[in-house]
Symmetry: D3
């Protein structure tokens, strides 16, 4: 495959703090020779691993964006041992629009890896991250949340690989260090092989993520968890050894299994009434939601039930719903 | 002004329970002789006042819609003394789209009163409610919430009029009966003379409203408050005298004054980080929010402060924000 | 009300044949000083009444447009006694887009009379026709058809007014002269007072119309009926006394009464299966249509029935349908 | 190529009647973990061939959709010998929108085979049908019609392959069994190698299709032909051996050759007046259509002529037309 | 008519320099309690007349916007005698979009006066300028240019009123002071009674304007003329008595008469080739433009000619053109 | 890769003058069997090289379109020795829309080579030009200009290849023959390997281009240069040996190097004020542009400077600008 058409205004090999842009050529009616300016920050000092910190992979997930912007302004080169590459608005057009997907091409960056240097802008971004950035990284932390359509119990997310005992141990340790209420252990992440995390793993990096709230908004509580978690990780890896942060309160390791962990809207054109809340422990057969029909308000609602026992980790936000929308997903205790 | 072009498939004077539609003629490319079917329910029995219960005035405010749909299915004519007119999806095109405003004409129904029989569909709806429904009503309860862009401490809302002692007393009593955490007393409601409530008042009805949550979603907690409040009101008015509902826990009467109660985004193109939460008591000069800039993440955020003391009753939800967006508004104890 | 902002490049008082444009000022981004060029043709000779022949009032009704374009090219001034004003693409932006309504403002010209000189382009056109053209006319024939969403048994359409014996007699005579399969006598036309025909009547002209097929297409059969009918009318009125046309086969006078003549889609989001065809004689209670649900194909269809006896004059075309769409309307023998 | 990302809620190997959905993952702003629910029905019993019955490949072709929905509700497992897989709304987003192509990606499913598991939703559907469904089928019947832009003499459609004598014989026999007015024998179908039928042939299945009317509507006459034809085919193949259906009236075998069978609009921005009708026998040089210009109604129309003799099998519906639109195509007697 | 719903964050009566916003309430899906922030600057000192300086009335006319932003930053209160109100982005949504008209409502502000406090945002702005600002002004200078679709010889524009000798003399004097290459004297300005200038005149103020280039761009040459002209006017009126600016080079007074001064595109769908340039002196009958047809490149172009003698003051920019677009307008020497 | 699905109505091997269309199959909702009609002209006579003359590669670059349309109408077969293939509206949908990119798929044709026969329409066009047309050509001249977003000093453009002495000499000679004010020698053209010129070179043809003005308009001056240049080239190559044209005034050879030749907008949401003009000679560090902020007019502008010495060859046109837009690029004397 061809090389990326993106050029960076920073030099990854240079020490100190650099701020600049990835220039993604975008020749359109309004700007024949223009480029899309994706912000990038690189802080390099001494020796140590390279860590990618990214957010805005989905443009409407703001907790990570705010967390990384604060960290970018706080960290001085002298505080760093190794290198941190910040990509706080990874799918920049989506982030500027406050949308999960890019308004230019409709692309979902986290379903676009490993990308294509001659594809749509979203594919070009994925290809650059995969082929230029992740090839330099030892760790990749991609900060997500529920975005506009979902709300999560704040979670850190790691992926275990059957047989990779050492690696898996490190992932679980990092989840514990991060210290979110939930440590979500996945062996089949959403989007599977098309995510930034999957690309990171293919490139040999340890990948971690978060699902840090959602609703298309930011809360002080979520920022507190995310800010402390990221700092603890960086301290633990020795990349920012002396950063001030409280010790981890630990995490509750949970896993999410197959389709029976998920509840979906069973009918078109309704309004979603949740019958449980985030964090509730539920039983198989328990009513999860009622779908009401505003166009025929006297019609009885459709009631949908949980297919298994578990804890409610994630719920849908928008009231209007169509068949196939995810309303809830559950987690169960991690069984190792 | 001309008569409404809307016809109803129900007869307001008939006893019993009727379900049907307001037929709003809408002659468009896809349907030359079509009409917009706005659901309406009328339950009439015995003698007593006429009460309008409406929701979906803003289509993305779902708490009221679900509350009224449940009540519609629960109430039998024999339970009623008087008449209840339900309009659970008042701006029907907006409700079907899950939007504050109508996708047909962009109209905000609660800024369209007293309406126009020859105007846009939103204006035609306002005119019908004003000229046909409100003229028959003694009470009008229009259930709102924060919708997609705002989140409220659950509140019931009443308007007092200088000098109208008897009427004002009844309004405050109804707020107490409703029993929301906040009883929000207004003398300058949003949208002023263009709201359903303002039309109701002009037509001589007692108008009450709610701001019952928001975020473009429904929660079990908000539904519980709204459902009990509406039932208590109906019981109190004698319209559904024997409905089963717990007694009111009372309410905290608060008022919202002039522009200094409001905090607005000071700059374009940022991400909103709230520095306080709903229900917090704040002081003048206290930082309210930081606006971060994802396109230039190393730029210091703009910090905006509260202009006065108060309690945070309402906050913005969407992370992306532009200058002029309302971020918070405060309330202070009602001084009568 | 102010005078029209439209200027005509033709002179209505001049004899002979003139072709030109109504210039509707339209100052937009792409053309700051531009105007919308609505074609107009005027043929004046000798003495006799003034007749307006219009089509493209709805832009997707082509039978009238083609009929009038042929007539425009065929008629020579020497053939005329009086004056014919042709407006073959009355809502010009709609006609160019092949849409019922204007792509500029969404306006339905035949629901916009008497118009507004300072309103949207559609309102400005209505106002010009009402205030400048119809004030000069003795007869106004506005050629419609079912358009994109409906199909009609080819009909000529006249309106009778209670008590106006002479006028009504002339209308019925003209229907007979036109010689369509159906002569549709209305006393409550669609859109009522907002149509071109209603404006014509208010201005003292005799108004006639057609519903000449539909489906958003043209057929040789419909053109034959329309072309002969218009020529017979012009000959009958003495305006084109020697035009060659076969004598009228007569017409079947029918009338369309209240809501029970109409059948509407009872549910959202279905596919319309007609159970009868145009021209069928049906009975009250007979199934009219089944609405199938492609999203849940195993669901039983909703069946809707005729509410009265009659003849099927009009049916819906598009397969996809929403609650409130008109599926059929009936006619019954005209009872005078 | 990778495996499909679609999962089915039914089990193709299970006996009996199953209804469910193909879940096409679609992670978008409004629904981060959602899927597109493509309805699927499988009826399996005893032994016999596997038949795919599909419609809604183009979303605005309703005759097949209604025919298959009726059949789905009529057939009981005990009536079947073998297996029938129903895909009545194959390009589900297009079917729900009533559009030929998908509103999500603009894709024309019948120009998207053999598809791509990592492509647009339309490509993903094509890939699943090709790689999962057609690999299980002996016969594939894809029900089309003229859709919104064309109207056909009701036809069944088969493709013959030079040299494949046995196979071709079976195809001609099936056309005869189907019993549409026209049996359309093609050796260069529209879209060639990109159609469902072409994929079926590559997968070794016998493929048959229809062109069952059109105009974006349904008629009782077309449904009667389609319903009887499909039942006769299923009976003939022994898959529904005892279904009640009248014997085939036979068919008129015709073929459609090269570009001289087609008539196209010669100029931009006109209104299409057909000068012949469906079923007419025409001669080379005979005028086929006149294109009129509503923006300059006094301009002479452009007349376009047939390039060869034949029978009019298909005509364009929409009145507005642009250069390159197909106005008619002819057929000639099949010469084997 | 009702009072404006706009509130200003500045106080017009306060001395010194104030910067702030007109808050136009705009309650939409994304911002329920938001307002549109229209920037306003007021500089008041000593005694003297009140002058409105506005630009961005059409959002794609940038020369005035840049000229006023520079002046806003340059002027100190001590330099002023009287009051200057700056409205540099009058139709703010249009200015932010770089469009002639508002992206919110399609409104052309300079065809919206005197406005409507309950209308679209554009109408609300017009009403506020008319009823609140112009009622305080002695002079109103509204800086326009050709915008995106036109290019002008830089001109200052004044309107004379038959019989108002003193007033007219002052207008001509101001044109001379401004010192643009052309002083354009109008007695029938574009948009007539619907412009800001017309409202100013109705409110008793002296109104002046410019047509300062265009093409949707800014040039150093146009800025030089505009900047010096505005400063000379302010000095001449004594409002900024000591501002440094070169003396006026004088102006060439020209007038623009009736329709024969204008040349329009005669046909749809072409490419505009100008045959003359700005500033050329032309004769009646001289070819003005050729319209070529890219869809049929071998077709001869349509040539359109000037209808009278004159000087080319204005030409169209965009190559693509439709019938009714203005290609050129002429001027002739002012005859007083 | 598969063969093109495009068919041509002309025969490239036939002598004489042929006009016709490339038929690009485009099966869409409005036209199921339609094709996009890309005009093509072929003039062949005697013996000599084959030359492609193309324009409308970007649909908003009109100078080339008008130049080629004039030439198409002027040239008679007898004037030609060899073959000229004209493709005056290469990306036909873009040319009809007056947009740089295609309104159908957003494609930029000059970033789409070598194309894809199964891709979007823009990709299909690129593939046809590459695989069918360029394989027959000795020379390919693709006429560009600055389009809507840029303005150029009129330039002819050639690409030199290190080591290809003979070829490079011919390119420089052709630039001199063309005789534009600037002869722009590139070794890294915009879009690199994805342009028509790059495909031509890969196919062994000599490729030349132009940047002939811009602003989305046509000027008499630019047409004069382009028309004479193309004629001189055709005469020089012996393809139109006797065409009447003045001798070349020669050209100034310049080159454009790396990123320091370009100036980009440094901030979002501003208005572009150029501080230099086309043709100016500038120094490193000299201010190039000021970016003003209409939403905060009292904010100081951002000033951006040239990074090196040079001559201003190209500038941005639209006033509104975002970070990453190209404002200027420089050229320096060609150093061979």
């Amino acid at each position: 495959m061809a090389a990326s058409r993106i050029t960076a205004t920073i030099d990854y090999d240079k020490s100190g703090r650099q701020t600049g842009f990835l220039r993604l050529p975008h020749s359109v009616h309004e700007s024949a020779y223009g480029w899309i300016p994706i912000p990038i920050v690189c802080i390099k000092n001494g020796s140590g691993p390279t860590v990618l910190l990214s957010s805005g992979n989905h443009g409407d997930e703001y907790e990570g964006q705010v967390t990384l912007m604060k960290l970018i302004r706080e960290l001085e080169p002298a505080m760093v041992q190794g290198r941190i590459i910040f990509l706080p608005a990874a799918n920049f057009p989506a982030a500027m629009a406050g949308r999960r997907t890019s308004p230019i091409d409709g692309g979902n960056l986290n379903r676009s890896f490993p990308g294509d240097p001659d594809g749509t802008p979203t594919k070009v971004i994925a290809h650059y991250i995969d082929s230029v950035i992740l090839t330099q990284c030892n760790y990749a932390f991609d900060l997500h949340s529920g975005g506009s359509s979902l709300m999560y119990v704040p979670s850190a997310l790691g992926t275990v690989v059957p047989g990779a005992t050492e690696r898996n141990k490190q992932v679980l340790e990092l989840l514990d260090v991060f210290g979110a209420p939930i440590g979500y252990v996945s062996n089949r992440p959403m989007g599977a092989d098309q995510t930034l995390g999957a690309s990171a793993a293919r490139r040999g990096a340890i990948a971690l993520g978060t699902e840090m709230g959602g609703s298309g908004t930011v809360t002080p509580a979520a920022l507190k968890i995310a800010g402390a978690g990221v700092r603890r990780i960086l301290k633990h890896l020795g990349v920012v050894p002396d950063v001030k942060v409280a010790p981890s309160p630990g995490t509750r390791l949970m896993e999410v299994g197959g389709p029976d962990y998920f509840v979906y809207t069973p009918e078109n054109g309704g309004v979603f009434e949740p019958l449980v809340e985030l964090g509730d422990t539920v039983k198989a057969g328990q009513p999860a939601a009622a779908i009401h029909f505003s166009h025929t308000p006297w019609r009885e609602p459709e009631v949908v039930r949980f297919e298994r026992d578990g804890v409610v980790l994630c719920k849908r936000i928008p009231g209007r719903t169509e068949r196939g929308d995810c309303l809830f997903h559950l987690g169960t205790e991690y069984r190792g």
